[in-house]
């Protein structure tokens, strides 16, 4: 039987399958973030007489954190370009930079949370506080996992002289995740910080 029908579909390789799987996982994760956004928006007025977002948020600090995270996406793009071009040393350098920027973002967030807590906004102080920490902290956990993932990719490149094309998908999968986490941050910046500052 040689004549295949017109609708014969190509069977996919592991790289394409994984990319698709990551997209689905991120779609599911979006619904999870949406639930936490809904929770935050429902409860953000419940400050229990304590400090509110408008009183606490420091947009300059948050802008710096945003800049750090968004530039990490740019750097990760450079890493992928180095990967495609077979420049392993540049790939390692850019990957390391991305992870460091991610780590810097987590550090800024930790400093931010500590300063809020010192000014009375502890986790269980009010429902606004709990919803804020749950949403923003959940995003921070995502960045932390992303840093671990990028670190593991860096270790992967260090154990071999060059990355074979059949391993490219490992980097593409991680980058999809990293860009997603960045996009979520843009929404958090707008909905939590800008809207919160506007009152």
């Amino acid at each position: 039987m040689s004549g295949a029908p017109a609708d014969l579909e190509p069977r996919s390789g592991p790289a394409e399958r994984t990319r698709f799987g990551i997209w689905l996982w991120l779609a599911s994760d979006s619904a999870l973030f949406a639930s936490l956004f809904a929770t935050y928006l429902s409860l953000r007025g419940a400050t229990a007489g304590g400090p509110s977002g408008a009183q606490l948020f420091d947009l300059r600090l948050t802008a710096v954190a945003t800049f750090v995270l968004l530039s990490s996406s740019l750097v990760l793009g450079l890493a992928l370009e180095a990967l495609q071009a077979g420049r392993t040393a540049a790939l390692r350098a850019w990957l390391g930079c991305t992870a460091l920027l991610g780590l810097g973002f987590v550090g800024l967030q930790a400093a931010e949370f500590t300063s809020y807590a010192r000014r009375g906004l502890t986790f269980a102080h009010s429902d606004f506080a709990s919803a804020f920490y749950a949403l923003v902290g959940f995003h921070g956990l995502h960045v932390t996992f992303g840093v671990l993932w990028l670190g593991s990719l860096l270790a992967f490149t260090l154990r071999r002289p060059a990355v074979a094309p059949r391993d490219f998908w490992r980097f593409e999968a991680a980058s999809l995740y990293w860009y997603f986490v960045d996009v979520v941050w843009v929404v958090i910046f707008s909905v939590v910080y800008l809207l919160g500052k506007a009152g």
Partner: protein, 628 residues
């Protein structure tokens, strides 16, 4: 997470002998994982059945003191949780695991190792939840666990028992496994179909598996978020659901039902799929209105996300919101009706073969229509104010879950048992089982409609005599004995067939889809050569227009094992280790043990990265001599 990587020619290892406990603990084969799911689900089903049995014993007579009120609360909570999360849904997932890759003409699912992770997470979640019985008491706030019952205090005065913590962590762990299954099945179905299997040539069971998986991917996140918030309330004393501190009890309800209503379709769609496979085969004609059936499934899934608030008509959302959700709920009856009529039209004019699978399928049609009708009644808000919180609701949910999902899954068991085990079930015992189950479920659940209309509230542990509840409750309890006898006969029939059943051969029912073209039970590699699909009902097309054998698809193989071998992923203990780490983490959260939690997190992260970077050389499995 880990895809089957290409091994250079000849580098695969010899196959690991597939026997013993070790083979089951390390398997990544979709058929073995499917069997693990189904056997575990049956175990939990027996447990949930025993809980139901105790509930009905208590309610058989008025003023009964067989069971304390506190224990009764735990029993009905755990009965609902067990049947929904640990029996029906995982059984469907097991069936999808076993059957769908075969129906697609594929060797396995897209991510075999992730599949094993899903199973072990489900089992861990189920065991965590049930371990509460031994560790201070089971959850007792009902399966939907409304705030403020779930934050302690109201139901649990004094030192707060940990039952609800087991609810939170058990469901969370099992739920993560379920989401991973959903992702896995969507990729499998959209990417691993045999050449020629265009979407409108996919068997209906594959369609329902696909749509169910999409529902899982998008419906579980609100539950995950909800459980996480409740965990924070209980562990860190936040007040998300505490009105006294500005929190919202309705937040729990909204998020729960945003998950909970799609969940209803997650429970019923695979059952629809099985019925759509069985009815054509036993009517010996093609399914009537295939495109309409596909459209109906997609429409049901779409609407499933817009009706959640019909579970909350009585909480005071106002007439406008209630009306919108009433309308969207009633619209669901249209695509569901399309399916019912198409099944009936398939039966009409068919040369019916009234074997056990078809009996269950026809029984399903009757009882599911009753359950659907009471569903439309409940969708009318003014009427719902009367039905809400009464036994009418209990009757409805059991008609759709027992008369719907359970009957359809029993049909599916009787239909696919020969494929899964290679043995035929005894048809006479099967019929006895069917008639007792069918009679038993109607005797048990039909009187509950009237009990509800007469005013009996659900979830009461006993009732005074002479309120008009006595006789109907007694009848209902008698029904449980009939239902139980039928289920025991069905189980005994399976047990007997495993040893003494006649050999089934590849195609005992004159089947229409690809799974009936391979041996029973199928070889590890499913298909020696990936088949070419030349029409809807791929095997029937070959029987009708070809020589009855599948045509291999040229160039479909993506890896090139030596002649006479198939390259498959190797078994690995890592999924089990990962689930073990998650279990440690869950217990650490329940008992607030920080160091243990860190250890658990370490195991989890380490096994995730090991799974991601383990370059599996795969194993070379030799083809059987008479491979199709």
């Amino acid at each position: 997470m880990s895809a089957l990587t290409h091994a250079p020619l000849g580098l695969g290892q010899p196959p690991v002998p597939a026997s013993g406990l070790r083979a089951w603990l390390t398997t990544v084969d979709h058929k073995r994982i499917g069997i693990l799911y189904m056997v575990s689900a049956l175990g939990f089903f027996v447990l949930g059945g025993l809980e139901a049995f105790l509930i009905r014993l208590q309610l058989a007579r008025p003023d009964s003191h067989l069971i304390s009120a506190a224990l009764f609360n735990q029993l009905f909570t755990m009965h609902g949780l067990t049947m929904i999360f640990l029996a029906v849904m995982p059984f469907s997932i097991g069936l999808i695991n076993f059957i769908v890759p075969l129906q697609l003409g594929a060797r396995d699912v897209a991510f075999p190792r992730l599949n094993a992770v899903s199973y072990w997470l489900f089992l861990s979640g189920g065991l965590i939840l049930n371990s509460s019985w031994l560790l201070g008491g089971a959850p007792n706030a009902g399966w939907y666990n409304y705030a403020p019952l779930d934050t302690g205090g109201l139901l649990n005065p004094g030192p707060d028992p940990r039952g609800i913590d087991f609810y939170v962590l058990g469901l969370q762990v099992a739920g993560v496994g379920t989401v991973l299954s959903g992702v896995n099945f969507v990729v499998t179905i959209l990417r691993l179909r045999a050449p020629g299997m265009s979407p409108l040539r996919m068997p209906l069971f594959v369609w329902t598996a696909l749509i169910t998986s999409v529902l899982i991917v998008f419906a579980f996140p609100p539950l995950t978020a909800n459980l996480a918030l409740l965990m924070l309330d209980r562990l860190f004393h936040t007040g998300f659901f505490d009105v006294g501190r500005g929190g919202m009890v309705l937040l729990w309800q909204q998020l729960f039902w945003m998950f909970g209503h799609p969940e209803v379709y997650i429970l019923i769609l695979p059952a629809f799929g099985a019925i759509s496979e069985i009815v054509p085969v036993f009517s010996r004609k093609a399914l009537f209105g295939y495109p309409a059936m596909v459209f109906a499934i997609v429409l049901i899934a779409f609407l499933a996300f817009m009706v959640w608030s019909h579970h909350m008509f009585t909480v005071g959302m106002g007439p406008l919101i209630n009306s919108v959700f009433a309308a969207s709920s009633m619209i669901i009856a249209v695509p569901t009706g399309v399916k019912i009529f198409n099944w009936v039209a398939t039966l009409a004019g068919g040369r019916l073969r009234l074997d056990t699978p078809l009996l269950y399928a026809v029984g399903f049609l009757f009882t599911f229509v009753i359950g659907g009708t009471s569903g439309v009644m409940l969708a009318v808000p003014p009427a719902d104010f009367q039905y809400s919180g009464s036994y009418f609701l209990v009757a409805h949910i059991h008609y759709v879950l027992v008369g719907g999902s359970l009957l359809a899954l029993l049909a599916a068991i009787h239909y696919w048992f020969p494929k899964i085990t290679g043995r035929l079930l005894d048809d006479r015992r099967g019929r006895w089982g069917f008639w007792l189950v069918f009679a038993g479920l109607n005797i048990t659940f039909f009187p509950m409609h009237f009990l509800g209309l007469f005013g009996m509230p659900r979830r009461i542990d006993t009732y005074p005599p002479n309120l008009g509840f006595d006789t109907l409750n007694l009848i209902s309890t008698i029904g449980v004995f009939v239902l139980g006898a039928g289920l025991l006969i069905a189980l005994a029939n399976m047990r007997r067939a495993l040893r003494h059943g006649a050999l089934a051969g590849p195609d005992p029912w004159d089947g229409r889809t690809l799974e009936w073209a391979v041996a029973s039970p199928p070889p590890e590699y499913n298909f020696a050569r990936i088949p070419l699909v030349r029409g809807r009902d791929a095997l029937w097309v070959e029987k009708r227009y070809g020589d009855g054998h599948l045509v291999p698809a040229a160039g479909a193989e993506e890896e090139h094992a030596p002649e006479g071998f198939v390259h498959l992923p190797s078994p690995t203990p890592l999924p089990l280790v990962l689930a073990g780490g998650v279990t440690v983490l869950a217990y650490a959260a329940i008992y607030s043990a920080l160091l243990v939690a860190l250890a658990g997190a370490g195991i989890v992260v380490a096994s995730i990265f090991l799974l991601m970077y383990d370059r599996d050389p795969g194993q070379l499995v030799p083809l059987a001599g008479d491979a199709p």
